[in-house]
């Protein structure tokens, strides 16, 4: 049983528009049997934070191409992408590079 994880989420480049225009979110992920990874985080965001048009944010079980993910200010490609295990106090940033956000 993993303990709850408190993380800081940030949306930018227009992605925040899908979250009622709110850029920063401090959230606590509830404890669950397996440790939290980014893949599960995306599902959680979709269920709990995303306000509209999920297809503009996620695609399959990853983010939509064109949306960048930074984990603690580093490219998520360096951190194992979807498999990265979230640590307490991690900072996850989503930046849309698509036209019009």
């Amino acid at each position: 049983m993993a303990a709850p994880v408190a993380i800081h989420l940030e949306f930018g480049g227009g992605a925040e528009l899908l979250f009622n225009g709110v850029k920063e979110h401090h959230v606590t992920l509830p404890s669950q049997s397996e440790p939290w990874d980014v893949k599960q985080l995306l599902v959680w965001i979709q269920r709990n934070l995303l306000k509209e048009r999920p297809e503009l944010f996620v695609q399959g079980d990853s983010v939509r191409p064109g949306i960048l993910v930074l984990i603690n200010d580093a490219d998520w490609e360096l951190m194992g992408e979807l498999d990265y295990r979230l640590q307490d106090q991690d900072n996850i940033v989503f930046i849309s590079t698509l036209h019009g956000g």
């Binding site: 925040e16 191409p65 064109g66 960048l68 200010d73 360096l78 590079t97 698509l98 036209h99 956000g101």
Partner: protein, 469 residues
């Protein structure tokens, strides 16, 4: 012409080469060290296998901007350069690079004198007056911090432009080959003799002037008269370009810097082909575009991918303001531009060389021969210069225009290039939806009158002189 483009396109060779690469990418052995300094922990993956640390990434990014300007030698020392800043990440990054370049010491310093222009498109994309004021104020704060002179211009202004905007003013005679060196020499002499720096800013600012009450509905009506999002985006970008060129010209700037990234340009290139602007590709996506004569458009950000820019802005806190545009939250298939973007970006996700392949084909596109026709025929809306007489000739030269005066019955559309014809056609097409709309807007008028109304009153005052005569 586009065969070369297609041949280089990854889709065509999907089977063998890329399969391997994909699998390798799937089992990443991504090094966590910077490939440049080989010491610090990497923060950014620029291309497959190229991992940079924060410091090296900054150096690389800054060097690239200066190299781009240095290599092309198109901006002369002391020249007035207008930076078109939309508030988006790419143009704001460009602004910060110019700032960075001007703050350098000694020989590396950029030597032109910049100004900023922001076109407030709120009226066209349906922002309320309150929202527009807020975004303008946000940007004003960013601009003030740079210390450069800036101009905030509402898009409504485009409706009052004189018809001359599109007439390419004669460019200050062809520059001989050694002109750049001579200019640098002169500049160095004059700046050493007088201590006053050219980049010294005059305290000149123009905040958002009050938009004329009547012009916002007029602009909205214009945008609403266009049926499809594709044509609407095309129209908006044309109007924006007119106003940018006009502002540059009336404020005495001879270069206009646009912040198109290479991702953006790759999308633009493919969507332009689909929109029927194939012949103008070289001008629309190249490093410089001199179709307006005395004002040259320059795209110094065309070597950066959208990813690099987003990372730089994030890591080095470059401020940008996100403003909703026409296609914000639009579904993938809402317009040709939107669809092309999602096609390119999706392909890029699996085949990381997509964008660079598309974008590298630009230099292979033929630039039209400027001396071939004199006077040159040019499209009355986008100023695209035809070189094979695809559309009816209208001369840019005032004197010759008298000779070639369009017959009174001439269809205005004959003065437009193929793509602008499509846009205008869409504007006056009679679908049930627009029929209802236009009946409201123009009661009791015939189709012909409606068309004239749109073209004359609303679309382009540029047409006014033509149709009235």
């Amino acid at each position: 012409r586009y065969l070369s483009l297609l041949a280089g396109f990854p889709m065509c060779q999907v089977d063998e080469d890329y399969h391997d690469e994909l699998e390798r990418a799937g089992a990443p052995s991504v090094s966590k060290q910077c490939v440049k300094c080989k010491e610090a922990t990497a923060a950014v993956v620029i291309r497959v296998g190229d991992t940079f640390c924060r410091g090296c990434f900054k150096e690389y990014f800054i060097h690239k901007f200066r190299a781009m300007l240095g290599k092309n030698r198109i901006i002369f020392p002391g020249e007035k350069v207008l930076l078109a800043v939309s508030g988006g990440p790419s143009s704001c990054s460009m602004l910060s690079q110019v700032q960075e370049g001007l703050s350098q010491n000694a020989h590396k310093k950029l030597r032109f004198s910049p100004g900023i222009v922001f076109i407030d498109e709120g009226g066209a994309v349906g922002q309320s007056a309150e929202e527009r004021r807020r975004t303008a104020a946000e940007l004003e704060a960013v601009f003030k911090a740079t210390g450069f002179p800036f101009h905030i211009v509402p898009l409504e202004k485009v409706l009052d432009l004189p018809s001359k905007v599109l007439m390419a003013a004669p460019s200050p005679s062809e520059q001989p080959a050694g002109a750049y060196k001579t200019a640098v020499g002169h500049f160095l002499q004059s700046s050493s003799s007088s201590s006053s720096c050219v980049t010294q800013q005059e305290e000149k600012e123009s905040s958002l002037p009050d938009v004329q009450e009547s012009s916002t509905p007029l602009l909205q009506r214009l945008m609403a008269s266009v049926e499809t999002l594709t044509a609407r985006e095309d129209l908006l970008s044309t109007l924006r370009q007119h106003l940018l060129v006009h502002t540059a010209r009336s404020e005495g700037y001879s270069k206009l810097m646009l912040g198109d990234s290479c991702t953006r340009l790759a999308v633009k290139l493919l969507s332009s082909i689909s929109l029927g602007r194939g012949a103008q590709l070289a001008q629309d996506t190249g490093f410089s575009d001199s179709r307006f004569g005395d004002v040259t458009l320059v795209r110094p950000m065309r070597d950066y991918s959208a990813k690099e820019i987003a990372f730089y802005n994030r890591l080095f806190s470059v401020p940008s303001v996100s403003i909703p545009s026409l296609d914000t939250k639009a579904p993938e298939k809402a317009s040709i531009q939107r669809l092309t973007e999602s096609f390119v970006i999706k392909l890029q996700a699996d085949f990381p060389s997509t964008v660079s392949t598309i974008y590298r084909s630009v230099p292979n596109l033929p630039e039209l021969n400027r001396t071939f026709y004199n006077p040159r025929p040019c499209c009355s809306v986008c100023a695209y210069t035809s070189f094979n007489g695809v559309f009816w000739v209208r001369t840019c030269d005032e004197q010759a225009a008298v000779r070639y005066r369009a017959p009174e019955t001439a269809d205005v559309r004959t003065l437009l290039c193929y793509s602008c014809q499509l846009t205008i056609k869409d504007m006056v097409s009679q679908s049930p939806c627009t029929a209802a709309g236009s009946a409201l807007l123009f009661p009791k008028s015939t189709q012909e009158e409606k068309r004239k109304h749109v073209l004359v009153q609303v679309c382009c005052p540029l047409f006014r002189e033509l149709v009235e005569k």
